[in-house]
């Protein structure tokens, strides 16, 4: 079953900006779906239309087969949303934020209070339940927004850069929470600028640029399209110049680090063999950037070049 179906979706703002140009994508129930793109690509507009915060110009959107033009209330009842910007009532107590939100979804007050307690505890901000939202740190505000989005137990959770500006500990905590939530059956759509985050969490990815979908496939297939990866090798001993490895591009990053570019058809075994021959010992190896990040840059650059042509 499709959790979300977006068909020929277009949006032109009053100032003439065409934010979405006939966008199509589907998200299957149970997917962890990444919607990626550079700033201004149209991600937030798409999420805004799905959640009815933005009026579309044309096209259609169905959430679990409920069309937002004809069954908006039903469609909205399936959704939970964590927006990019903090949109909390800063003068409300955290507990009231959740209890009220549950109320807006038609959940009776006793159940709303129970759920509010559950999710504040899960997000590790139960101690702050009687604090005003304005007194929370940035990370806590984000966690409160995630708790608020979950209070109606949504079947489809939309997260618009949920970890922007939060510390590593909070981010990791949120990753593990979201993974667990997805394992329990909640479909999740994530937009993020941390491509490592998307690569680790998501099983499907769509890349949007200048209002158009330029890639839409499973994460495995998308990463398989990566033409070149750059690895950093940490060496035991210092070098003055980068070693030459036949068929590979190498450069010295620092006396004890070399960068090696590996194309899709090459393996990494030859690198080790060649380096061993010239007595260079490798201590560790890592990707220079996340693979998805490299692909993202490759795709968005291609798009720009095509437009310039």
């Amino acid at each position: 079953m499709k959790a979300l179906s977006v068909n020929d979706l277009s949006k032109q703002y009053r100032n003439g900006v065409q934010a979405l140009k006939s966008v199509n994508f589907q998200v299957n129930q149970g997917d962890f779906f990444a919607l990626l793109g550079p700033n201004g690509a149209g991600k937030t507009t798409a999420i805004g239309i799905i959640t009815s915060l933005v009026n579309k110009t044309s096209g259609s959107v169905q959430v679990f087969n409920s069309d937002i033009d004809h069954q908006l209330s039903l469609a909205k009842s399936y959704l939970g949303v964590v927006p990019q910007e903090v949109n909390l009532n800063l003068f409300d107590k955290c507990i009231n934020t959740l209890v009220n939100q549950a109320g807006f979804y038609g959940i009776p007050r006793p159940e709303a209070k129970k759920r509010a307690e559950d999710y504040l505890k899960q997000m590790d901000i139960w101690e702050k339940r009687n604090s005003n939202a304005r007194d929370l740190s940035g990370g806590m505000k984000r966690r409160l927004m995630v708790a608020r989005a979950l209070v109606n137990k949504p079947k489809l959770l939309l997260l618009d850069e949920p970890t922007a500006g939060v510390d590593i500990e909070t981010r990791r905590m949120m990753w593990s929470f979201l993974r667990e939530l997805n394992n329990q059956g909640t479909t999740i759509i994530l937009t993020t600028h941390y491509l490592e985050e998307a690569e680790q969490l998501c099983d499907h990815v769509a890349i949007i640029d200048e209002g158009e979908i330029i890639e839409n496939d499973s994460m495995l297939n998308v990463l398989g399209k990566l033409k070149k990866e750059v690895f950093i090798l940490n060496l035991e001993n210092s070098l003055d110049v980068a070693p030459k490895i036949p068929g590979y591009e190498t450069s010295l990053r620092s006396p004890r680090e070399i960068e090696v570019s590996v194309t899709q058809s090459q393996g990494v075994n030859d690198i080790f063999t060649e380096l061993k021959k010239i007595d260079i010992k490798i201590i560790s190896m890592r990707n220079k950037t996340s693979r998805l990040e490299e692909l993202f840059i490759e795709l968005t650059n291609n798009q720009k070049e095509e437009q310039q042509r």
């Binding site: 959640t51 009815s52 915060l53 939100q101 109320g103 979804y105 709303a112």
Partner: protein, 255 residues
């Protein structure tokens, strides 16, 4: 209770809590302002004016002053609350939920009416220190207060829907609401005015509300009570459906 009713009650509870939480801003200022009106216009100047429509001046202006507080406070409550929700963007909490637009409008309307009723109670209590308030038609008084608070709550909501900056929510109360209220017969009977200005005054909707209240409390009025109630009802229905229509279209709240 069905889901829509629960969501509406949740919003009403939220808005009522807000009024009570910030009682220093919502309930005390009208009490102080109206005490000053009673002291200055009622006690000091009123003594020299004598009677109006057969009532001591203090008693004559009391219903109008109560109504003036109800109008400004119910309007101010909704325009402030809704506009803040827009600016802080927590209006999105409502917009992403399955709540109907009618439930949202009724939720905010109820908040404004509740503040109007609280303020009416506070000002009436203060009035008792200055004059006797022997209410002629108690039920009618309550209906007029609730309906008028409703009309101005909805007017405040419309103002907030269209407002884009803080100036926009200050302009209407200062340049429209205040002059109409002062010219709406709070301090005088329009029968004192020349014919031309009497006719002009009858175009002012607040005249009907103030006089409906005066009729309910004192039994005297510049207009037929039937006309007053009709005007209040018409304005209420008109503003209610306009608000729902605008929210349904997303005007002022959606990109």
């Amino acid at each position: 209770m069905n889901a829509q009713m629960i969501s509406m009650v949740a919003l009403i509870r939220k808005e009522t809590t807000r009024v009570l939480r910030i009682w220093v801003q919502t309930l005390i200022p009208p009490g102080i302002t109206m005490s000053l009106y009673f002291i200055i216009f009622g006690t000091l100047i009123g003594r020299r004016i004598g009677e109006m429509d057969g009532y001591p001046y203090m008693e004559y202006i009391a219903p109008g002053l109560i109504m003036m507080s109800v109008i400004t406070n119910s309007y101010g409550n909704v325009v402030g609350s809704f506009f803040n929700a827009k600016i802080q963007r927590h209006i999105e909490e409502l917009l992403v939920s399955p709540m109907s637009e009618a439930s949202i409008v009724i939720g905010y309307l109820a908040g404004g009416v509740i503040r109007g009723l609280f303020v009416a109670a506070v000002v009436s209590f203060i009035a008792l220190f200055f004059t006797d308030l022997n209410v002629k038609h108690p039920l009618l008084t309550i209906i007029v207060v609730i309906m008028t608070a409703g009309v101005f709550s909805l007017a405040g909501l419309l103002n907030a829907i269209f407002a884009k900056k803080f100036d926009d929510i200050a302009v209407i109360p200062s340049f429209v609401l205040a002059p109409l209220t002062y010219l709406g017969g709070v301090f005088y009977t329009v029968s004192l005015l020349p014919d031309f200005w009497q006719t002009i005054s009858r175009l002012n909707p607040i005249l009907y509300m103030v006089n409906s209240m005066r009729y309910s409390v004192l039994g005297v009025s510049d207009i037929e009570i039937r006309d007053g109630l009709f005007m209040i009802f018409i304005f209420f229905i008109l503003l209610l459906f306009t608000s729902i229509f605008l929210l349904k279209r997303g005007i002022g709240i959606r990109d």
